[in-house]
Every structure is written in structure tokens, then in C-alpha cells.
């Protein structure tokens, strides 16, 4: 293969050709020959770049200089200046039409305007692998303040004052937990961080660890000082390799700079941190199972009490908080509890990070003040539902949570409001659903997850959730009875009451909340053998509407020859033959095929 030091790409698409690109190519060939460059520079005719209004377009590699509106006369200059002397001819470069009021900064987009970033304040701003950048943005300042100016009780008092609640799901007051751990008797104590993040679709903790790992190091050290621990563990799932790598780097750098280890800030306080990897089981996010896993045992929960604050890792008093909970600590210390309390609602202070997903235009990670309404999150931050579809419900709390229907969309988000609606804050998954989502199917999806993830230790969870899943399968296949619905409810209540840990105690929530708000959907499946959303495959069929033009495209697309019809006549699908693959609907140019 011949090697050229430079390539000149000339667009030979229809648009550019009609604006004289072929003459330009000829001129380049002539110019290269005159300058003896034909062995060094290659001219390539390319297809359309898609910027026809800027044509004829010429691109010179390796620089990638993008010349637009090139005339034959310009070729000589490009050859002599750029190809020969290596100087880009700047006045010929493409310039975007200047768009009036063009938004160029992401902070100006609606997606960010309503957000308030405390836990995520450094994410997307600093280089997470550079401790000095963290320090530049007030990193380790809270730790310095705590160690040199405050007594442990004073630190706990501030956290209590701030009314910060645990962000891992339960919403337990963080300050109280710190106090319990501080007061617990024990020669040794531990600080632990729950970075298991098992909710499907949730990734806020991962983002904090990847984007701002030092905040966890700093906060856990502060917590160690407050409760009297010298050792901390961060429990992360091995499926988060980048988070693990950056956190380890942060720990090493902090040690190197004397921000971890012995005599931090020349005080008598020593603190060290270690990472423990989990294998990614949902139940290992439950605190007692997590502690077993840290100790090297099988990740199964045990009854509480005793709570970890009294008997945790190696039976020693242990403070366990979630990643996002810790991420708030340094800011609370630096700005004071009054500042933190000024954000949020009566019972829920500060912000919450949500992983926004599902049928929503702007998927992503959002941090909002508590008390923001679901509507604001979905329509203003999330940009609404794609394709002009109708909002149906939002799922929060993952497999432990529930579905909140459209009539409650103006509810301000906080711990108590979500529980009142039969859902919960959970760790922050937020899945938006539209008219095409079947609520029975959604409940089935989460039950399927919990059945998979149940550790098997206690029968209500191990056997009960399996029975629930079987009933849901039956209903979504159109074989359910009204008695099945009653049994589902009974099972749900019993499993909630009798399970050993939070996994089983909350596993029925997706079923209970959909039964509460969408009972008629269950009944339609049972009584009419119909899935109102058209999502359950067994219960829906494809139909060709009267608007069919008889073009025959669907007929060709059908892999089982289930479609028949004369040209220019409305076609029909033979439901006995149809395998419901959906190919016809996808191919129909007139939207004349529906599933219902």
C-alpha cells in the first residue's frame, strides 16, 4: 500500500458535484503535479458529508481542516499554503452559521437549571484522579476543620442538626446513627460505606465514586473521628471497575499526602481505609448481609437487632452509610447545618440524586432539592415523554418501590410522600412509563428480579416471591383468574410481614402498588384476556387498519406468510398463523398496522 502524508478529501456527493467539485478535483490534480506533491498527497473523492449548504467541501487530513464553499481559484492557495507549507488557510475554513442565542453551556439547558448539586458538586468538574483538584475545590477542608477545631460530639451534633437522612433507601436520620455508633461500647469500631448499588438502573453511587472519590475518603474519615473508629471499609461491587480503580487511587494519594494514615493533620487521630469487593448480589446491599460479605462469609442477612451500630463488622460497633449520604457530609460541615436545612421539605432536607430512565427524553443523573415535584422532574428536567405519548406512571425505589400514577404527578418528592403513595425513595432509581407500558408486566419484571436475587435463607421470600411470580406469569399469559388476584394480595401481605430482611419485606411492593392504582389492568387481563397497553405478547394481536394502501410491504416482511391481500386492497393478518414478531408493523410506511 502506498503511504501518503496527507489526504485531500473532496466531496463528490450530488450536492457538491453540482456545485463544481469535479472541477476542484481536476484543479487539485494539476496543482499537486506542479508542486511535485502527487506522491505525498492523495486526493480522495468521498460521498456526501451532509453539509451540502457549505459545499463544495474539502477536508485535508491529518489536520482535518474543513474547507467550505471552495472555488476553483482557492485550490492553488490550499495547495501552496497548506499542503506545501503546512499552514491552514484559516479564512477558507468552514464557519457555522452563527445561531442566535445558541445555548452553548450545559448549565443553561433546562435539564440543569432546576438541579442543585451537593452530592454531585464535583462530578463533571474536577479530574477525579487528581487529589489536588479536589483540594482546589475545598476538598479535605472539612476534615481539617473537624480534626483541628471540633470535638467528636460536636461533629455528631452538626450532622443531627442538619437533619440529613440516609440516602441508601431507608432514610434513617444519619446523625442519630452516628450517635448510636459513637455511644456503643467496643474496643474497636468500624466505619463502612455501602457502595453496592443493587437497584437495577441506578448508578448515582457509581457516579460519585467515579467522579469524586475523595469526597468518600474525606467523609468516612470524618465519620471515623466522630464515632471513634480508626478503620473503614468501602464495599463496592466488582462490576464497577472504574469506580474501584479511582477510589483506590484516591486512598493511595490521600495516604501519600498524609490525609489518611497516622496522625492526620498532626493530631492524634489515625484512620485507614480498605476496599472490599462484592460480587454484585442485590441482597449484599442489605446491611447485615453486607457485613457478612465483608467478613468473607456468604452474603446473607441476619435478624436485627442487634443493629450494626452495636454489632457490625467482626461484631464490633459499625457505622454504615450509603455513598450519597457520605457525599453530603463535607458540605454540611463547611456550610453548616442551617444551610443544609434550608434546602428541602419539612421532613426531608437537602437534595436527592435520581437516575432518570425509561420513557423520558433526557435520561441521566439528576440532583434535585427535596420537594421538587414529580412533574418538574419529568417534564422540566426530563424533557417529557418521547413521541408525544401519554405519561402513565413513574416507578421509584426499584424492586422495593412502587408505581406512582399520573394523578399524583404534582406530589413533591420526599421520603414520606413517596411512602404514602405506596412507593419509596429507595436509592434513587426513577423509571418513567408511558401508555405502552403494561403495569402487570412491570410488576412481573421486578418480581422476576427479586426471585432471582432472593438469597433463600427465609421461606417467605424464597418460596413466596416465586409463587407470586408464577401467578403474574399466568395473568400476563391470559390464564389468570380473579382468585389469582386475591391470592397475589394475600401472599404479598404475608411475605411483607414474615420476611427476614428488607428484600422480602419490600419485594411485594411493585405488585401492591400496581394493584392499588391499576387494578382494572389486572382485571382486563383476567376477565377480558386483554392487555390494555398492548404490551403482553400472549394477549395482543396485530391488526391492519382500513387506512392500509395495499402496498404489499408487510406481506413481504412477514416471515410466516400470515398476511394476504390484493394489491391496492386492504390486507389482512391470519391470526392463527401470525407469530407476533412485529416486523409488519415496523415496516408499514403508512402506520396502518396496530397491536392491541
Amino acid at each position: 500500500m502506498e503511504l501518503f502524508r496527507s489526504h485531500v478529501l473532496v466531496c463528490a456527493g450530488t450536492g457538491c458535484t453540482s456545485s463544481a467539485s469535479l472541477k476542484i478535483i481536476e484543479e487539485f490534480e494539476k496543482q499537486l503535479e506542479e508542486n511535485n506533491l502527487e506522491k505525498e498527497v492523495k486526493i480522495v473523492q468521498t460521498g456526501c458529508f451532509g453539509l451540502c449548504e457549505a459545499g463544495p467541501v474539502v477536508i485535508v487530513y491529518p489536520e482535518g481542516a474543513f474547507y467550505s464553499h471552495i472555488k476553483v481559484e482557492d485550490v492553488k492557495r490550499i495547495t501552496e499554503e497548506h499542503l506545501l507549507k503546512g499552514r491552514v488557510v484559516t479564512d477558507l475554513l468552514y464557519k457555522d452559521a452563527v445561531i442566535e442565542n445558541q445555548v452553548r453551556d450545559i448549565d443553561e439547558v433546562d435539564f440543569y437549571k432546576k438541579q442543585k448539586r451537593i452530592a454531585l458538586r464535583n462530578c463533571g468538574l474536577i479530574n477525579p484522579e487528581d487529589i489536588e483538584e479536589y483540594i482546589a475545590f475545598d476538598g479535605y477542608k472539612a476534615l481539617a476543620k473537624v480534626l483541628t477545631e471540633m470535638k467528636p460530639e460536636e461533629v455528631i451534633e452538626i450532622i443531627k442538626e442538619s437533619k440529613l437522612r440516609g440516602r441508601g433507601g431507608g432514610g434513617f436520620p444519619a446523625g442519630l446513627k452516628w450517635e448510636f455508633a459513637a455511644k456503643a461500647e467496643g474496643d474497636e469500631k468500624y466505619v463502612a460505606c455501602n457502595a453496592d448499588e443493587g437497584d437495577p438502573g441506578a448508578f448515582m453511587d457509581r457516579s460519585v465514586l467515579e467522579g469524586d472519590p475523595h469526597v468518600i475518603v474525606e467523609a468516612m474519615t470524618i465519620a471515623g473521628y466522630a464515632i471513634g473508629a480508626n478503620k473503614g471499609y468501602v464495599y463496592i461491587r466488582a462490576e464497577y471497575p472504574i469506580a474501584v480503580k479511582r477510589l483506590q487511587l484516591a486512598i493511595d494519594d490521600a495516604k501519600r499526602m498524609g490525609l489518611l494514615g497516622e496522625k492526620i493533620f498532626n493530631t492524634g487521630f489515625d484512620f485507614d481505609l480498605e476496599i472490599r469487593l462484592g460480587a454484585g448480589a442485590f441482597v449484599c446491599g442489605e446491611e447485615t448481609a453486607l457485613i457478612n460479605s465483608i467478613e468473607g462469609k456468604r452474603g446473607m442477612p441476619r435478624p436485627r437487632p442487634p443493629f450494626p451500630a452495636n454489632k457490625g463488622i467482626w461484631n464490633k460497633p459499625t457505622l454504615l452509610n450509603n455513598v450519597e449520604t457520605y457525599a453530603n457530609i463535607p458540605q454540611i460541615i463547611l456550610n453548616g447545618p442551617e444551610w443544609f436545612k434550608s434546602i428541602g421539605t419539612e421532613t426531608s432536607k437537602g437534595t436527592k440524586v435520581f437516575a432518570l430512565g425509561g420513557k423520558i427524553n433526557n435520561t441521566g443523573l439528576v440532583e434535585i432539592p427535596m420537594g421538587t415535584t414529580l412533574r418538574e422532574v419529568i417534564y422540566e428536567i426530563g424533557g417529557g415523554i418521547p413521541g408525544g405519548k401519554e405519561f402513565k406512571a413513574v416507578q421509584t425505589g426499584g424492586p422495593s418501590g412502587g408505581c406512582i400514577p399520573a394523578e399524583h404527578i404534582d406530589t413533591p418528592i420526599d421520603y414520606d410522600n413517596l411512602i404514602e403513595l405506596g412507593s419509596m425513595m429507595g436509592s434513587g432509581g426513577m423509571i418513567v412509563m408511558d401508555e405502552d407500558n403494561c403495569m402487570v408486566d412491570i410488576a412481573r419484571f421486578f418480581l422476576d428480579f427479586t426471585v432471582d436475587e432472593s438469597c433463600g435463607k427465609c421461606p417467605p421470600c424464597r418460596i413466596g416471591t416465586k409463587r407470586m411470580l408464577e401467578i403474574l406469569d399466568k395473568i400476563t399469559e391470559g390464564n389468570g383468574t380473579m382468585e389469582d388476584i386475591d391470592n397475589l394480595e394475600r401472599l404479598a401481605k404475608n411475605i411483607k410481614a414474615a420476611s427476614l430482611c428488607g428484600l422480602g419485606q419490600t419485594a411485594p411492593n411493585p405488585v401492591l402498588s400496581t394493584l392499588q392504582y391499576f387494578r382494572e389492568e389486572y382485571e382486563a387481563h383476567v376477565l377480558e384476556h386483554r392487555c390494555p397497553a398492548g404490551a403482553c405478547k400472549a394477549l395482543s394481536n396485530y391488526y391492519i387498519l382500513e387506512t392500509c394502501k395495499g402496498c404489499g410491504i408487510c406481506m413481504k416482511a412477514c416471515p410466516v406468510e400470515a398476511i394476504s391481500g390484493e394489491r391496492k386492497q386492504v390486507h389482512v393478518i391470519d391470526l392463527d398463523v401470525c407469530i407476533k414478531c412485529g416486523e409488519c408493523m415496523a415496516k408499514c410506511p403508512f402506520d396502518a398496522i396496530v397491536r392491541r
Partner: protein, 121 residues
């Protein structure tokens, strides 16, 4: 680390380095490199920036990485800090990165077509 004064010293020095806002000649290119960004192709984009800048011998430009900015569907996201101005480029590719270096960094013209405001659903 012995004292708060030590920390403060590092802070000031680092801020000087990070915060190019006070120093109008510097440009800071920040590539979102969390799992989402990397999965969307941020690594080659970052390499492309580094390559282009090296190849062109441009000074006063720092290319660095950062964590998740939160807007997954726009990844890879690259932010360019220049003086008081911040530009957010979205759905970046190796070629787009080259063009941003050429147009924005070299010529000083923001490539509006790649910025967040030009996103179409």
C-alpha cells in the same frame, strides 16, 4: 499533611492551575470519563484531543478528565473552559474533536453545531 496551612497552600496552587478563569490565555478541555462516557467512546475522543493538540504544538491548553456530568444521552460530553466562557460539546467523536481543536481552540470559533443547544431529539 501537617496543618491547615499546608492544605491551604496546596489549595491555592491547585486552584491557580485548575481555575483558568483568572488567566485568559489558558483553555481547559474536560472530557467526561465516567463509565457512561467511556462506554459511549470518550477515551478515543480524549486521545484525539491530546493528539491534535500535540500535533499542532498548541500551548496553554490542558486536556483533562472528569466524572459523570449526568446527561447520559449526550455522551461523550466535552467541556471547554476558556476565560469566563464554558462550552459544552455533546456526542463527541474523534473527528468532531479534531474539528473542535481546529475551529474552537485554534481559530477561536465555537462549533455551534456540536454544542448542547443544537441537540435534536
Amino acid at each position: 499533611m501537617k496543618s491547615i496551612a499546608d492544605l491551604e497552600k496546596i489549595r491555592e496552587a491547585a486552584l491557580e492551575r485548575v481555575n483558568l478563569r483568572s488567566d485568559r490565555q489558558g483553555i481547559r478541555i474536560v472530557v467526561g470519563m465516567a463509565t457512561c462516557g467511556i462506554a459511549a467512546g470518550a477515551r478515543p475522543v480524549m486521545m484525539s484531543f491530546l493528539d491534535e493538540i500535540k500535533k499542532r504544538g498548541i500551548e496553554h491548553v490542558v486536556v483533562t478528565q472528569t466524572g459523570c456530568i449526568g446527561a447520559c444521552q449526550y455522551e461523550p460530553i466535552v467541556e471547554v473552559y476558556d476565560g469566563d466562557e464554558k462550552t459544552t460539546y455533546i456526542e463527541m467523536t474523534v473527528d468532531k474533536a479534531k474539528r473542535v481543536v481546529l475551529e474552537h481552540i485554534v481559530n477561536g470559533n465555537i462549533v455551534d453545531g456540536y454544542t448542547i443547544g443544537s441537540y435534536k431529539k
